[in-house]
Amino acid sequence: MSLQNESRPSDNLLPAVFRDGRILQGIAQIIFAIIVVIVLNDLQTRINTALESTNQSPNFEFLQNRAGFDLADSGSYSSNDRYIDAFRVGFINTLRVVLLGLAATTVIGIMVGIFLLSSNFLLRTLSRAYVEVLRNTPVLLQIFAWFYIAIFALPPQQEAIAFPQEGIRNLPLLQFAFSLVVILAIWQYSGGMRRPAWRTGVRQVGIAIVVLVNLFGIVLVGSGTPIEFLPGIYISIKGVAIFELIPSSLFGVWMVFVVIGIVVAILLWRYFGFITESTGQPIAKARIALIVFIGFVLLGWLVMGMRPTPSVIGVYDEERDVIEEMPYDDAFESGMLTIEQELEYTRQPLIFRPPMLDRRGRNVETGIEISPSYLAIFLGLVIYTSAFIAEIVRAGIQAVPKGQLEASRALGLSQGDMLRLVVLPQALRVIIPPLGNQFLNLSKNSSLAIAVAYTDIYQVTFTIINQSGQSVTGMVMVLLAYLVISLCISLVMNLVNQRFQLVTR
């Protein structure tokens, strides 16, 4: 009895109500809520006091006022536009870095991650060095390195590196085309693990023909078809200028061919998939669909070349200030056609326009211009993040138990089927959650753009705040912008993740 008495709760000083776990938890919740309210209230008071002292109340009306500052990388924006337009420029510039950056870093990361597991010593060691150097140095330093070392070392714009070099070169086009056909034929008809002897023969004869034709074509016949090369890309200290492809008047009709090509390719792909399911006969459906699609695109291009054209075109001669009638071909070669005329009368659905500098040789007039700031922030983020993604991919692949590989081999699955059907689905399950984290890191690190004066959302908002004094509104807007981007990435990654979850008990 005495033992029982000793452990009786009634001996405690506190009444029973305050020893009830549920009530204790409730009290803790209430105390916490009170602290939160006090802190928030204090914050509110401080913000209000600060704003009153500067005579500014937070509002969104000021966004309609004239911005009055210029922005680089801003398209058609000018200083006469409103604050909200500047803000939009910043948001789009951030998206340009984040979306293209995510795509690029994923591709590079997966490649390097696979290289980390390569049986090739050199490849493995180099990719290991890549990962260790890049993930163990600050990303800001890397962005500066791209900006001040890699890009500043490029030649000035007047001496820009051009690719390809301008000029007329002879190419053995016929031999190339013939070789391509033979290689495609070999590819189509001689594959497979257990190919019969005649297929091996076909492959060897085919390779011999390709080698002979090219040797003959280049060494003995010598000259090929003269092709005029125009520079497609300029690289200089002012960034990169890339050619433009402008849709001509034929573009719409050509797109019909392209769309039909896509539809036919998809239908074939599904049809052959169905045939494989129901007969078991293996068919390279992706390959066939791809070839059919390319066929339609080229066919469209050829058909467009047969359009009726006027025999003469009126060309404006600048020197003599007269409009001169010229035969069709001469008009195109004269270089005096306006861009509108070219687009109207051409036989091609897309017109190639090399990047060109204006008369002062300063600014890129035609073509797509990529600024050094964009290059620095883009390369810095992509390369830095790819090192982390490479490690995630490597770990994910290695996380697939060895027994899975053994079971696949014991069943006789080919190396490709094993990777595609057994290893990859299980590796993705491990890879996707940390990959999502890296995606979020990249999108948030894009605010480092301010270091190389790239006009991303953070930099633009910073300028807006400095000029308008609307710090609270500005900060709220920039926070919301990053939040929207991050939540979108999270949403997509969560949906993808759901697909790869394992079903267990």
Partner: protein, 256 residues
């Protein structure tokens, strides 16, 4: 169409031949001068202490491990670095693992139909029909559309057996198929294996189940330190009257 090269008829010639086979893991000599012949439809049980090389031996037969010296001929095809030979041997050889090694991201049905469709190029209908027949044979047809993670150990191992059988192999290799199972599940797996042996499958079984060896085996092999120490029919092997090699006797004394 599948064209298997030389087909060996049952009862004619050995379906597996190992001659003077040696294997090392680094400096460790795992298999020493193994010479072994297995006839079609024979059930061969391999016993021995852990580390004696019995798992490695059967893993060499479908090239999950590479032997460094000697010859292995399976179903008339010599195992070498020739990838086509390896692929062909693996098509004719089913394997069941201690840890089941089912594909956790695929349903039971997909686990079973995967290899017949991808390797044997069967139509889906045919592969699924075959899978259902096999699931009925291992007595779990109702589990066909569940995932491996939803099954008990014994059920998973029976699915693994069905998966190996779906390829219609000539030889089945069992690598300690019951060692990872609870006692009451061991029986359900052994029953499936006994039934398989009765249908005339060539089986190589590494196991510690002496009851199974006594009941089903045509021949028992005792391995130690990478050598085949002793072999014989089970009635001799487990008879108290026979004089064994001292190492065999020591092992038998411990487990019986």
């Amino acid at each position: 169409m599948q064209d298997s090269s030389t087909q060996v008829m049952a009862g004619d010639e050995p379906i597996i031949i190992c001659r003077e086979m040696n294997k090392w893991f680094g400096d460790f000599h795992v298999l020493r001068n193994i010479s072994l012949e297995v006839m079609p439809q024979e059930v061969l049980v391999i016993i021995g202490p852990s580390g004696s090389g019995k798992s490695t031996l059967i893993r060499c037969i479908n090239r999950l491990e590479e032997h460094q010296d000697g010859t292995i001929i399976v179903n008339g095809i010599e195992l070498s670095h020739d990838v086509q030979n390896i692929a062909e041997i693996r098509r004719e050889t089913g394997m069941v693992f201690q840890q089941f090694n089912l594909f956790p991201h695929l349903t039971v049905m997909d686990n079973i139909t995967l290899a017949p469709m991808k390797v044997r190029h069967w139509a889906r209908d045919r592969a699924e029909q075959r899978a259902m027949d096999l699931l009925e044979r291992v007595e779990i047809p109702e589990q066909a559309f569940k995932y491996p993670g939803q099954l008990s150990g014994g059920q998973q191992q029976r699915v693994a057996i069905a998966r190996a059988l779906a390829m219609e192999p000539k030889i089945m290799l069992f690598d300690e198929p019951t060692s990872a199972l609870d006692p009451e599940m061991i029986k359900e797996v052994l029953d499936v294996m006994k039934e398989l042996a009765r249908t005339g499958m060539t089986m190589l079984v590494v196991t510690h189940e002496m009851g199974f060896a006594r009941e089903v085996a045509d021949r028992v092999i005792f391995m130690d330190m990478g050598r085949i120490v002793e072999e014989g029919p089970p009635e001799n092997f487990f008879s108290p009257d026979i004089v064994h090699h001292p190492r065999t006797q020591e092992f038998l004394d411990q487990i019986l």
